[in-house]
């Protein structure tokens, strides 16, 4: 049984305007039928404007074969329009079910519920709100760092309550499971450095120093930075999402209610895992980057692996490796602290989890680069 196209007819009889509705007024109608409610309202408004003698509107539905909310909303709009033009709207001819639904929809919600306040979107208001939020966030970060410091001290005293199995699991996830991506990216970065270096060094006949360039760059800074960026996007985001979801599911509240500190139980294993794994990953990343440079040196400059490694060993000192490892340890703390802090301060919705995950990655990346710049200058000043 197919739908009958809806239609309407308006008859003006002295002060009475009669609207005769026909067919199926249903939500799943086609485009022409979907436009009909707007057409009816426009037509009625025109009638009101052109014929000021209209005093009442009557609806006839004897030829309506089907209706649902589509027609109900039309009725409500017509009723509103009549009220605006101070014309009587006769609903006595409407089906009983329709009248009951209109009555049900007209109920005013409980007075105890506060009315929604429209948000102030002015420039000054936005600036003020953002500044207050930024100050509040800085306060939260400082509080989080001090709380995690207290938790760390508890752990050193052997008083912290956490599961060591969690720490091993985090170490596996942030360490061993990250090795493939760390290998690939550092190998490629080493190769890119080597390629650019080869093109420049060739001009001066100093091709052999490609090992010097790649080795020192990778061990002092690049391997640590690339690995930290990977860990921020991979593990930092995971920490924020895990802790954020736990907050939404009230799991963190459940821990608190059991007298367990979420800082010790959840944050500490993640921070320990990340702080221990980052330097190890950075050392591994050094080798992969140097290997990437070796491939380019061999392919572009015909430098054998033996010659290349010889130059690297001569040029890269323990101070370079130590500088890179220390830098990676700092990055590990940054990724862990930011990821966990964003997760713990997450709101109570799915959207908030997404926002805190994004914020964790962006914030960690920014802080990583700022601290890399600071440490580089510091190394220079200290002569490391």
């Amino acid at each position: 049984m197919d739908n009958v196209a809806p239609a309407f007819q308006i008859n003006h009889n002295n002060s009475l305007l009669e609207i005769e509705l026909k067919g199926d007024w249903l939500l799943d109608s086609d485009l022409s039928a979907a436009r009909l409610p707007d057409e009816l309202e426009n037509e009625l408004e025109q009638q009101f404007n052109s014929k000021p003698d209209i005093q009442s509107v009557k609806i006839t539905m004897t030829q309506v074969s089907g209706w649902n909310s589509a027609l109900l909303t039309v009725m409500l709009c017509l009723s509103e329009l009549c009220r605006q033009y101070q014309v009587q709207f006769d609903m006595t001819q409407l089906p009983l079910e329709m009248s009951r639904l209109i009555k049900l929809s007209a109920k005013i919600p409980s007075g105890s519920i506060k009315q929604h306040q429209e948000k102030d979107t002015s420039f000054l208001h936005n600036v003020g709100t953002n500044v207050i939020a930024a100050v509040k966030e800085v306060g939260e970060v400082i509080e989080f760092i001090s709380e995690s410091g207290v938790a760390f001290m508890s752990m050193l005293k052997g008083k912290a309550i956490y599961r060591s199995s969690d720490t091993w699991l985090i170490m596996q996830q942030t360490g061993a499971e990250a090795m493939p991506i760390v290998s690939l990216l550092n190998f490629l970065v080493g190769a890119i450095l080597g390629y650019i270096g080869a093109m420049q060094l060739e001009k001066f006949g100093a091709e052999i120093f490609i090992g010097d360039m790649v080795g020192v760059a990778m061990t002092r800074e690049i391997a640590a930075i690339i690995t930290a960026i990977i860990m921020a996007g991979r593990s930092g985001a995971a920490f924020a999402a895990q802790l954020g979801t736990m907050k939404v599911n009230e799991e963190i509240d459940a821990l608190r209610s059991m007298g367990l500190s979420p800082m010790e139980f959840l944050v500490l294993p993640r921070m320990i895992g990340m702080m221990l794994m980052m330097p190890l990953l950075a050392i591994y990343a050094n080798f992969m980057g140097i290997l990437g440079g070796a491939l380019v040196a061999y392919a572009m400059l015909n430098i054998t692996l033996e010659q290349y490694i010889g130059v690297v060993i001569k040029s890269v000192g323990l101070n370079d490796i130590a500088a890179g490892v220390f830098m990676s340890a700092v990055f590990g703390v940054i990724v862990a602290v930011v990821g966990c802090q964003k997760g713990m301060s997450c709101g109570n919705s799915a959207e908030a989890v997404g926002a805190s995950t994004t914020s964790a990655v962006v914030t960690s990346t920014v802080i990583i680069f700022i601290s890399a710049a600071v440490l580089t200058v510091l190394y220079g000043v200290l002569g490391i």
Binding site: M1, D2, N3, L26, L27, D28, S29, D30, L31, A34, R35, P37, D38, N68, S69, A70, L72, T73, L76, C77, E97, R100, L101, L104, S105, A106, K107, I108, P109, Q115, H116, E118, G347, N348, S349, A350, E351, A352
Partner: protein, 282 residues
């Protein structure tokens, strides 16, 4: 309360069964399993048009799993759930949701709305956007008209003027009402409810029951409700089935009030009398 309906051979016209126009949903030989572990089996029942049909049973008996299989969300291990092939189709043809083609399945799914246990409202959208989402995607109405329809649906559930709120800004009871408004956005002839009263205070729960009765009465909606709230069951149900955790099938069916007086099954009596057995009272 099985209704007679002849079933065509599944080998030739596998997804069509013939039945009465009065049957809104036919569940046939349905078995539910999770990781190879049987939850419920050999489920056969029919839901009449305009009924408020309750699926009840103890925790873990598979009530929500059954609802998910009926709504096309979780595939059953065997059997099927039959709905009218489309709103416009001839009255006596029902199509199986699990054997239907993708387009037919979509067609069938447009015949029902689902209210999930926690509301499952989209937190990034306002209440009005939540309710109007399906209207925006599947109808050709103007944005203004869609807003009016969505606002009307919110008004029907007692939330007139709350369209610009976000889900996080309203109470759990209000979220449930928004979920009902969203489920009935397209005026589906069938509505599914998963634990609608769970987590609500008795007054809110009673208001929700009254709302369901009013909507069923005014709009002629068939409602399938998964619940173990006894007050709600006795207040709104026309018909019900009782799923048993141990026997893994239906052990009672019919009107809950009649079940209470007529059914002698110990599990059913214990459930309907909050743990007190009939023989204890006798």
């Amino acid at each position: 309360m099985m209704t007679d309906h002849s079933v065509n051979s599944h080998s030739d016209t596998s997804l069509i069964t013939k039945s009465s126009f009065a049957d809104a949903i036919i569940v046939e030989n349905l078995s539910l399993a999770y990781d190879g572990h049987i939850i419920q089996q050999d489920l056969n029942f029919t839901i009449k048009r305009n009924d408020i049909f309750i699926i009840m049973g103890s925790s873990g008996s598979g009530k929500s799993t059954l609802m998910r299989a009926m709504t096309g969300l979780n595939k059953p291990s065997s059997g099927d759930v039959f709905y009218h092939c489309s709103k416009e189709s001839s009255a006596d043809k029902h199509c199986g949701i699990w054997q239907a083609s993708d387009s037919m399945q979509l067609n069938i799914m447009q015949q029902f709305g689902v209210m999930f246990q926690n509301g499952a409202l989209f937190s990034s959208m306002t209440l009005l956007e939540n309710v109007s989402l399906r209207l925006t995607q599947t109808t050709k109405y103007s944005p203004g008209r869609i807003r009016r329809i969505a606002a009307f649906k919110l008004a029907l559930v007692g939330l007139k003027g709350f369209g610009h709120y976000y889900p996080a800004e309203i109470s759990g009871g209000m979220q449930k009402r928004v979920a009902i408004a969203r489920a009935m956005a397209m005026d589906p002839p069938i509505l599914f409810f998963d634990e609608p009263s769970a987590g609500l205070d008795p007054v809110s729960s009673k208001l929700l029951d009254d709302l369901l009765l009013e909507l069923q009465d005014s709009m002629g909606i068939t409602m399938v409700v998964v619940t173990h709230e006894l007050d709600s069951i006795f207040a709104i149900a026309n018909n019900a089935i009782f799923l048993d955790y141990e026997q893994k099938t239906i052990i009672a069916r019919g009107n809950p009030k009649q079940m209470l007086s007529d059914n002698r099954h110990e599990q059913v009596q214990s459930f309907l009398r909050r743990g007190k057995l009939l023989r204890d009272q006798e």
